[in-house]
Symmetry: C2
Subunit: 376 residues, 2 copies
């Protein structure tokens, strides 16, 4: 088993620096404390498309003066961070001792429309040709979910209210805001029925974590254990899936993650889910087994997922409140769980000894689910 | 320890298919034989820049109908393939049982000039700004090497003659040709002093390998063992390195790879090196310890590295003879060693029980060195 022993993030937002500089800024305070990093994994998806930069892993190790250390870039679109954590576990399993995982993306030098178009290149040729995009799919699924389960429109908006609110307590978040449901519902329409406050904003961001094997973890005082880290995929062809309101990859990965870590959903005290759009938070909580199919919206309406609820979800602000720098997101989720379980979450601190992350690529094309605990 | 138990490649060349289709074509015959793949690593660097495709790992698993299997894209520019093999070792170490590694790149829908410019985005901002490119660096280093070690111009050309010749025996190679030294020296000037036959051509290509843990390998009849797989890096800032004719990352990785596998250079019967340009083959053989510093060119002149020499190098044709589809290259090197050590190399077969691959990112920004044997 592996553990997370340190972390650092820069505030998500808009920067003039180059993408590799953002990654280096997140990593540098960790490098100063850990002079024995022996492998670097950079989670990044679109440095080529957004920033005309390749070889970002080597550029970063050069900037942080660990020139000889082997490094690699790991990409799995929005799920890159989760995949990087999973591969870090593998790197430690084969004998490396201390892995630096850096998640970084720089998106705001592009227009949102341009970013959306680039990200839609992860769709199959057929579905991309007819003009699908990730937000348009989220809109379609939101309509279908509300229709099928008689979920009120407000329940989706309430996810956005909660996550923007949580972000006001996170000084690394991009979009902390105290909003009403009405303000969310009257914000700019993006794609029917979703409004701009319900879609994760594009952002520049970088997060870094230090991971070690269990045996090594004893010398650190802020340690959490990765009890399980599981990935499953689903077809990239959305038309080939049955029910688009159900994320099978999240279901499969969560079931196995609970099983492997001998954890029950009720043991989990804090969850970071992949709320690229408001509807996704509800769907993922259902697929992970926290709420019954078609009933996740009720949990949101009843405040079960708020900071003071029985299951605080996206205490960091989630993707909606924090911003969604693609390659950084999955690493940022684990960073939040590390902060929470080691009681460093300041005025958004919740009571939890076990946490969970749900990170997805595409529209659940891949899911990477982690269960973390204060005990191995 | 891990082993390679199967492999397949498509002919390197020019295709109309989409990049994910090329990867799927290389993988499909393996999927038909191995119905228990549980992890997929796609080695690819530039699908975004060259092909406007992201999420290529999921697109490929969908095409080959293994939708639920977790997958990831690994990128380390020209060293992506080596990094993918290294991470595959980690994936097996953490408990997965059978990993499919697919190396793929589709470059020929772009012009060579455009490709060179895109690849130069791996340089530091400063060195990129002054107009450096990988071929221009290779040209500079070739001049410096010849000057410093009194290496005749013909010795570099002879690498190209050998590798194009070897490629004539490889039906997957793009550029098999019987050439004379004069023909190489009178081919199109690319960058002083290098000529077009001395630079690896851009190509579309895809290769796939199946890797398992040692315990699992007994049920296969074409097995080689990865005795060691080591990676080291050097500064991305070429100006910060001392002697550019010496590849420190290759030296460090090779030394450790020999040490870990308890192998001596003289035990190695076949080597695939990263001859992005003719001069690189000579430099890498020196850095790996096969020949003394400044004397690698003599080995080429004396035919020691030919198919019938004491140390056959780039029996596949190397990058120069086979073509250099960036993300496929490192996987293709291991594929050739697998073919050679399992005696499937037909009329380019050499006698060897141990083989080696030297794969580099950038201009040795990263080196991934593998030692393989017919015994664990």
């Amino acid at each position: 088993m592996v553990s997370i022993v340190d972390g650092n993030a820069i505030k998500f937002g808009k920067y003039d620096n180059r993408v590799e500089e953002l990654g280096a800024r997140a990593a540098l305070p960790l490098i100063e404390k850990h002079n024995d990093i022996d492998f670097v994994i950079v989670s990044n998806s679109y440095s080529g498309e957004f920033n005309a930069v390749s070889g970002i892993n080597n550029l970063i190790t050069t900037l942080i003066s660990i020139d000889r250390i082997p490094s690699v870039r790991v990409d799995n679109t929005s799920g890159s961070g989760g995949s990087a954590l999973l591969l870090a576990k593998g790197v430690l399993a084969m004998g490396f001792r201390k892995v630096l995982v850096i998640g970084v993306e720089k998106m705001r030098e592009r227009q949102t429309r341009d970013v959306t178009k680039t990200i839609s290149t992860l769709l199959t040729e057929e579905e991309s040709k007819v003009g699908f995009s990730l937000p348009s799919i989220a809109g379609f699924v939101a309509m279908e979910y509300m229709r099928r389960y008689s979920a009120p429109r407000e329940s989706l908006a309430k996810v956005a209210v909660k996550n923007h609110y949580n972000a006001t307590f996170n000084d690394k978040a991009f979009s902390g805001k105290v909003l009403t449901i009405d303000e969310v519902l009257s914000s700019k329409p993006v794609i029917e029925p979703l409004r701009s406050y319900e879609i994760s904003p594009i952002a520049d961001g970088a997060v870094a974590l230090v991971m070690v094997n269990d045996q090594e973890s004893r010398s650190y005082d802020k340690v959490i254990y990765v009890n399980s880290m599981i990935s499953y995929s689903s077809s990239s062809a959305l038309g080939d899936r049955g029910d688009l309101t159900w994320m099978e990859s999240v279901e499969l990965a969560s079931k196995r993650a609970f099983l492997e870590s001998k954890t029950h959903p009720r043991d989990i005290g804090v969850v970071e889910v992949h709320d690229m759009a408001s509807i996704l938070e509800i769907m993922e909580l259902e697929a992970a087994g926290f709420f019954k199919k078609g009933q996740g919206w009720i949990a949101t309406m009843e405040d079960l997922t708020s900071l003071t609820g029985v299951l605080p979800v996206n205490t960091s602000g989630g993707l909606i409140g924090k911003g969604h720098p693609i390659g950084a997101t999955g690493v940022a989720q684990a960073y939040e769980i590390w902060l929470q379980l080691t009681r460093q979450a300041a005025n958004r601190q919740v009571e939890a000894t076990k946490g969970m992350t749900i990170n997805i690529a595409g529209f659940g094309n891949n899911a990477i689910v982690g269960v973390y605990g204060v005990e191995p």
